[in-house]
């Protein structure tokens, strides 16, 4: 029982400290508002969207924005832009979660094993990571999508794989720093098992940097998948994916400014929200970075 409480105290205070720190930070609040709106829009899409996002009303094609029936206008096939953007948030949320889920789980496992055991395994992993980092990020995702074939799921997988190095490095560095600490050595000399040491003692110390990285990663994933879809390597029509919406609107840039403008603003705002949050989290969790 006593053992349990002593273990949980630092975690709780870190949590409380983070919340208090964030609530004083204007950037964090702005970020949180954007993220909340984004999640509400994704979860409540059928309730919020006034129209079916894929239904085409040809006689209303390229309708001007700011009218009662179409707040943000319609696209070239007469689909309501606002509804498509609302449903698009659903897709972007899934992209963020799936991609970060992939990179986080692999990065966590690879980074922990690599940092904990070191030796040949560590050397091979670091080499592989160097190779992955030898590709500029967007190019790496393009290469992977080219292998797997163009689809939204493959784009998510590609983004997830390309981000593994970042997580693996963060985790490895933390594990390396923690494993020689007296408390770990003490637990080990008391007969703690390797797996137990990793899960119970070392990993909790990775939570803060991992959390910062993951918040940043969701924004990155949304941005990259929009770019892939824009290039035709991600979501396929008629999916209301934001990047794809910008791509199909490209041809109408001269006649209908709104079809290009609004989906892009949605991408920008959402990514900005996650970046604001990740910036503030880093400031709060890592006092060394404070000015």
């Amino acid at each position: 029982m006593t053992d349990d409480t002593t273990l949980h105290i630092p975690e709780q205070s870190l949590f409380r400290e983070t919340i208090v720190g964030l609530s004083k930070n204007k950037g964090a609040i702005a970020g949180l508002i954007i993220i909340c709106l984004f999640i509400i829009s994704a979860l409540g899409a059928p309730l919020i969207a006034p129209h079916d996002p894929v239904r085409q009303v040809i006689e209303h094609r390229l309708a001007k924005p700011f009218t009662p029936s179409y707040i943000l206008g319609t696209d070239d096939l007469g689909r309501d832009l606002f509804s498509r953007i609302v449903y698009g948030s659903r897709i972007s949320l899934i992209i963020g979660i799936v991609s970060v889920g992939i990179s986080l789980s692999f990065g966590l496992i690879i980074g922990t094993l690599s940092g904990y055991y070191g030796g040949w395994f560590d050397r091979i992993v670091m080499r592989l990571i160097d190779i992955m980092l030898a590709f500029p990020y967007i190019l790496l995702t393009i290469v992977i999508v080219a292998i797997l074939g163009a689809s939204l799921l493959n784009a998510m997988i590609a983004i997830g794989i390309s981000q593994i190095p970042q997580y693996a490095r963060v985790v490895r560095a933390t594990v390396l720093a923690e494993k020689e600490n007296d408390y770990v050595v003490a637990e080990r000399s008391l007969g703690a098992h390797d797996l137990e040491l990793m899960l119970r003692t070392i990993l909790p110390n990775c939570i803060a940097p991992i959390f910062v990285q993951a918040t940043l990663g969701i924004g990155d994933a949304i941005l990259s998948s929009a770019a892939l879809s824009f290039l035709g390597l991600g979501a396929q029509p008629p999916t209301p994916e934001w990047g794809l919406m910008v791509a199909t609107a490209k041809e109408f840039v001269t006649s209908a400014w709104w079809v290009v403008t609004f989906p892009g603003i949605a991408i920008l705002l959402t990514v900005l929200g996650f970046n604001l949050m990740s910036d503030s989290l880093r400031d709060v969790l890592d006092p060394r970075l404070k000015d």
Binding site: D130, P136, A146, G149, K250, I267, V271, N275
Partner: protein, 338 residues
């Protein structure tokens, strides 16, 4: 220094080997028959067979890999399926366009990024600082393919100030000399005294360079600010202030020189990333560089072209990063020791 250089170069070999292998795996692992994919669904059996033979795809994978390595070692990337031209020639023809665009994007990003960073740091916690940093964070979050279209919408279509794409007005019958149009048009300016080429080239460069440079600009501004703040806290700055040296001199002569150390690294790393960012920018602005070319090759499933293009970009990226590291160890000797 020599030992450090040798060590870094030795580390390069397995990385490049891995890059080349991964690109090979890209074709070997892709589902279906690459030859069929390249020729399309309706191609007849004989032509598919012929292409398989031509590309060596009929041999066992191991043999294919060895042959592939032999070819890459002498920079033979086979011929493009689409044009029939050697891939290396096509890349060579388009590389200057991408390099030129990247250089101008980086000049734009470095100049404004450093300037904004300094102003932010010296006006810390004022509205100037807040606005600049909010702007920088927006820049980092920017979907550049969208920014490109919006810039086009405003400056080309709305205001009719700048062209929507290409490198020079096509009515000008411009014969490039080096492939770097800015350089070429300056040469023409001196030879013929005609500034029209240069004006057109610059006008075509502005929008793509701004779109491509926006993310690096934002990153450079953020790094410059935090690095500047770090330096301004140092004792020698306090001493300089106590000695009554003017604030302007302290910032631009004493602090900036040290604050720029990490900025140099970031500029180098970002320059490497521009090469891939160019895929998006070049596609939007019809910029005939290597990015747009790779995009078209992927669309056409022109595998030799995709392979060659990716290997060249990744290799360039690796070398740029190496040069950045070496430069950094020259300006900051502390690095070499660790």
């Amino acid at each position: 220094m020599i030992r450090y250089l040798v060590k870094r170069l030795a580390l390069l070999i397995p990385t490049l080997f891995g890059v080349v292998t991964l690109v090979f795996a890209m074709i070997a692992l892709s589902p279906g028959d690459p030859a069929q994919a390249m020729l399309g669904e309706r191609a007849n059996k004989e032509s598919v067979e012929k292409l398989r033979e031509q590309l060596g795809l009929d041999k066992p994978l191991g043999v294919q890999y060895v042959n592939y390595l032999k070819r890459i070692a002498v920079l033979d990337f086979q011929n493009s399926i689409k044009t029939g031209q050697p891939v290396i020639q096509e890349i060579r023809a388009r590389f200057p366009a991408t390099i030129e665009l990247s250089i101008f994007a980086m000049l734009f990003a470095a100049f404004f990024g450093i300037l904004i960073g300094i102003v932010s740091a010296t006006h810390k916690n004022t509205w100037v600082d807040y606005t600049s940093m909010a702007g920088a964070l927006t820049g980092v979050s920017m979907p550049i393919f969208w920014l490109g279209l919006v810039l086009m919408l405003i400056f080309s279509i709305g205001l009719n100030l700048l062209p929507t794409g290409g490198r020079i007005d096509i009515r000008m019958y411009f014969t490039p000399i080096t492939g770097f149009y800015v350089l070429d048009s300056i040469i023409y300016l001196f030879k013929e005294g005609n500034p029209a080429y240069l004006v057109s080239v610059i006008k075509h460069l502005i929008l793509p360079a701004v779109a491509l440079g926006t993310i690096p600009l934002a990153i450079i501004a953020r790094i410059t600010r935090s690095s500047m703040l770090e330096v301004l806290k140092q004792d020698y700055i306090r001493t300089a202030r106590a000695a009554g040296i003017s604030e302007h001199k302290i910032i631009y002569q004493y602090a900036l020189r040290n604050a720029l150390l990490p900025v140099v690294t970031v500029i180098g790393l970002q320059f490497g990333l521009l090469l891939s960012g160019a895929i998006l920018t070049e596609t939007i602005f019809a910029w005939p560089g290597i990015g747009k070319w790779i995009y078209n090759a992927i669309e056409a499933r022109d595998y030799p072209a995709v392979q060659g293009g990716i290997i060249i970009i990744a290799t360039t990226f690796v070398f740029i990063n190496l040069v950045v590291d070496l430069l950094y160890s020259v300006i900051n000797p502390k690095v070499r020791l660790s």
